[in-house]
Structures are given as structure tokens and as C-alpha cells.
Symmetry: C2
Subunit: 256 residues, 2 copies
Amino acid sequence: MTAILTIANQKGGVGKTTTAINLSAAIAQRGKKTLLIDLDPQANSTIAFFDAADVKTSMYDVLSDHRAELGSVIRPTKDEMLFVAPAKLALAKLEQQLAGQFDSPFKVKDALAPVQKDYEFVIVDTPPALGILTVNGLVAATHLLVPIQAAYFAIEGTDDLLETYERIRARPNPDLKVLGVVITLFDKRTNISRDTHEQIRSVFGSVLFKTRISKNVRLEESPAYKETILTFAPKSPGAIEYRKLALEVIQRVEED
Amino acid sequence: MTAILTIANQKGGVGKTTTAINLSAAIAQRGKKTLLIDLDPQANSTIAFFDAADVKTSMYDVLSDHRAELGSVIRPTKDEMLFVAPAKLALAKLEQQLAGQFDSPFKVKDALAPVQKDYEFVIVDTPPALGILTVNGLVAATHLLVPIQAAYFAIEGTDDLLETYERIRARPNPDLKVLGVVITLFDKRTNISRDTHEQIRSVFGSVLFKTRISKNVRLEESPAYKETILTFAPKSPGAIEYRKLALEVIQRVEED
Ligand SMILES: Nc1ncnc2c1ncn2[C@@H]1O[C@H](COP(=O)(O)OP(=O)(O)OP(=O)(O)O)[C@@H](O)[C@H]1O
Ligand SMILES: Nc1ncnc2c1ncn2[C@@H]1O[C@H](COP(=O)(O)OP(=O)(O)OP(=O)(O)O)[C@@H](O)[C@H]1O
Ligand SMILES: [Mg+2]
Ligand SMILES: [Mg+2]
């Protein structure tokens, strides 16, 4: 059974893309064939692997009236177990184009159906909004993974996301589960990180992953070199933590 | 003539809200009556001044069919020259509700018209998306102010924003000008910050503000205490830099 993990949080800049890229790579490194789908029009996950100019067809072609096959836009990466379905800026137009079509929340789910059995894991990166693209990611998913920054503004926004999760479970995807919440951009030198970490733990309890991703400049640098943290700085805290997170994610999926 | 500055960048977590709050406060501190309008459903600018539970009426009531007067939702702050028009989560529903109404991009501009002469500056905070709320901010604005993080992903996204700016200028708001681009979250210890700073300078030239906002934990802490940086840590680099930015912003507006 393929695990489809959608990474979502409408708060901006909390590490959704950084988690999507490096978690996918760490899961692939454990020998599990993995597909990373980029649903963000900013295409940050895409440009961490490819030059934007080299991407001809993308998720826009799959979800728009072109109805291209998902299989035809999937590209290999330097890691033979990791594949990427790229995004393009044009995805932003879908918000308007799909509004009102009754089947619009199911586009990604339907596009994934013919290829998902080829992968053990599918990871979906989403934009910082709860619009039609993120909804598509949640409807297609088996599990939701929420990165939360250990910061004041980042905690306030989780009610909104959980309300959307309940609405998705009520109708288009009753099987959706929360796989877990992961603290990102943790800076052990500041009080605000430690205080908010405690607050997040008291709100989420065992849903919180034990692995915490700390601030580490190598994580910021690696996409500029079109590498994941695992090859760019394999001994850095970022690489160690994302490998640990991958273990926890695989374990939670297998226990499900 | 009231200056209406909209702070926008669809890249998440680049310091839009932190700039909206502290720039508004620094401009008010120079004796200019200032209104901060929060158009982000996450209401981060709002919760930096008030408890979310205390906000009864908000920009949602002004922009939805309730058509409340903007004047009736504006609230005073501890600074007698600074006022805030709060946001609420319900704003997120407007994306769907306003889609298709021919006058939907002009809602904020129309709501502002009867009150704007009471303020010398109006600052508008927007969500990390180029949807109907951000478009409303750009249509109502005299100037656009773009915070950019000195980071790899943050640079890639500016084409998209500038394309939207051109489209707004072509039709609903021909008078819109770019007031400037400000580098935020600058970390002088890392190469990536320095490298990307050079890249941003070569792309934007004199449009780039001389003032650069560096990473400073006090900026992250102050909203948790419902204070702006100017009262929370008046001698911190964050307070000094936002006061300097306010001077540059006032100067550019007056030269216009
Ligand atoms: N653990 C980390 N250590 C250091 N920098 C990080 C870390 N995680 C993310 N970053 C940096 O923080 C910024 C925001 O991260 P990222 O772009 O992954 O967040 P996001 O949630 O995907 O943003 P958006 O909301 O725009 O999609 C990026 O510049 C990224 O390189
Ligand atoms: N100069 C700075 N130094 C340290 N922390 C900062 C600075 N500017 C912003 N931050 C912190 O970085 C995070 C992102 O900033 P902020 O919320 O202002 O960005 P935003 O662009 O408004 O995000 P969103 O896209 O979600 O609206 C917040 O936790 C904030 O406290
Ligand atoms: Mg992202
Ligand atoms: Mg914000």
C-alpha cells in the first residue's frame, strides 16, 4: 500500500519545502522508491532539483484541461530511488480555473491513481495557503504531515489547518490521518524556541515527532547547489535529523 | 496625500508581518498618524497587538456582504498615532465568495476612501499568496513594498510578484509604484546571506532600500508580548533598523 504524505501548513516559511525535499531523499536512501510531487506554484521543491527553464511539462499540464498523464511529467533525479513531478508558476492559474468545478478537489487523487503502485512513498509539497492546490493534496493523501516552526506566529495558525483537516475528513477523504507534527527551524540558543517547543508539545502530545529539525545553514545552502542535504553535507545536523525523521515516518506508516 | 503602502511577497515567512508591524510603529513614532490594515486570514499583524478572542469585528465584515464601515472596525493601540484594522480567520472565505464579482478587486480601495484622509500613512499586510486579498491590497495602494529574505528560495519568487504588479498597473491601478525592496532576515555570519544580498542588489539596484533588516531574536519575541520592537527592545538592532527604514520610506514617499 503506497503511503501518500501531504506536507501542509498555511503559515509561510516554516520549512514545508525543506522537509519535502530532504525527507523524500532520506526515505529513498532507505531503499524505498519515492515520488515527490510539487503542488506549489513557487516551484521551490522543483528548483531544488532542476533548473526552472528545463522544466517543460509539469503538474499544471496534469491538473489543467490538458489532462496530461502524471507518468509523463515525472522526472528521475541523481538518486535512482527518487523521482519528482515538477511544478510551474502556471499552477497559480488553477485556483481560478478550477473554482466551481465539482470534481476539482479530486484532480491529484485521480491523476495519481494509475501510477501510485509504482512507489512505496509519495510526498506532496503544498503552497502556504488552504486553497484548491492544498485541498487537492489533502484529498489525495493517506496522511498529513505538519511542519511547525518553534515561533510565536507559527503556533497561532494551527487551528485553521486542523479545521480544514476535519472538513476534508468529513467529506472528500474520510481515511485521511495526521501522521504527525514536526518542529522545524528550532534554535536551541533562544528562549522563544524552547518556550514554544514546550507549548507545541503540550498541544500535540504523542502526535509530535520525537525528531526535531534544528536551524542549520547547510539546509539553506543545499538547494542552491541542486543537492539534498544528504549529499551536500551528509554529516551535518540537518542530514542526521532528516534521516532520523525518515525512520520515524516509515515506522509510523508501517504501524498504521 | 495619504501614502498607502502594501507589503507583499507570495513567498512565505520573509518578514511581511514583522515589517508591517514595526515599520508602522516606527512611522507613527515620527508623529505621523498611521493605520495598519491586516488582510491576512492568519491575522498575525492583529495578534501582535490584540488577543484574537477580543477581536469582534474585522476586515472580514468590511469586505464581505456585511459591508461594515472601515471606520467602525479600526482600533487604537498603546501608541496614540498608530491604529489597526484587524483581520480574522473568516477572511479566508472571501477568496471563494468574491471570485467572479466584477468589483471584487476594489473592495479595500472603496472601503478606505472615506477614512484615508485621517491618516498620513496606511500600511497593508497581506497573506503569502497572490489571491484576491493581496490583489485588493495592490489595487488600493499608492506604493508596493517588497520584503525579500536573503535566501535561495526567496529570490526565485520575485518574477511572479513583479508580473502581478505589472498586471495591476495595466488595469485596475495604473498609479501603483514600487516604493522599494527591503532585505530581511539577513544573517551576516552566513555566506548564503551575503551571496544572495549581492544577487538582490544586482537585480534591483537603487530600488533596494539602503537599510537592511538583520536576524535578531528580539523581533521574534516582541509579538508574543503584544509589543512592537520599539517598546520591547528599543536599543536592539531590530529597533534601530526599522527606525532607519521608516526614515527612508518617509523620504521616498515625500520625494515622489
Ligand atoms: N532547519 C532549517 N535550518 C535553516 N534554514 C532552514 C531550515 N528549514 C528551512 N530553512 C530555510 O528557511 C526558509 C523557509 O523554508 P521553506 O522554504 O522550506 O519553507 P516553506 O514552508 O516551504 O515556505 P513557503 O511557505 O513559502 O512554501 C528557506 O530559505 C529555507 O532554506
Ligand atoms: N529580522 C528578523 N529577525 C528574526 N526573526 C524574524 C525577523 N523577521 C521575521 N522574523 C521571524 O520569522 C518568522 C517569519 O516572519 P513573518 O511572520 O513576519 O513573515 P511573513 O512573510 O509575514 O510570513 P507569512 O508568509 O506567513 O505571512 C516569524 O516567526 C518572525 O518572528
Ligand atoms: Mg515551500
Ligand atoms: Mg505574515
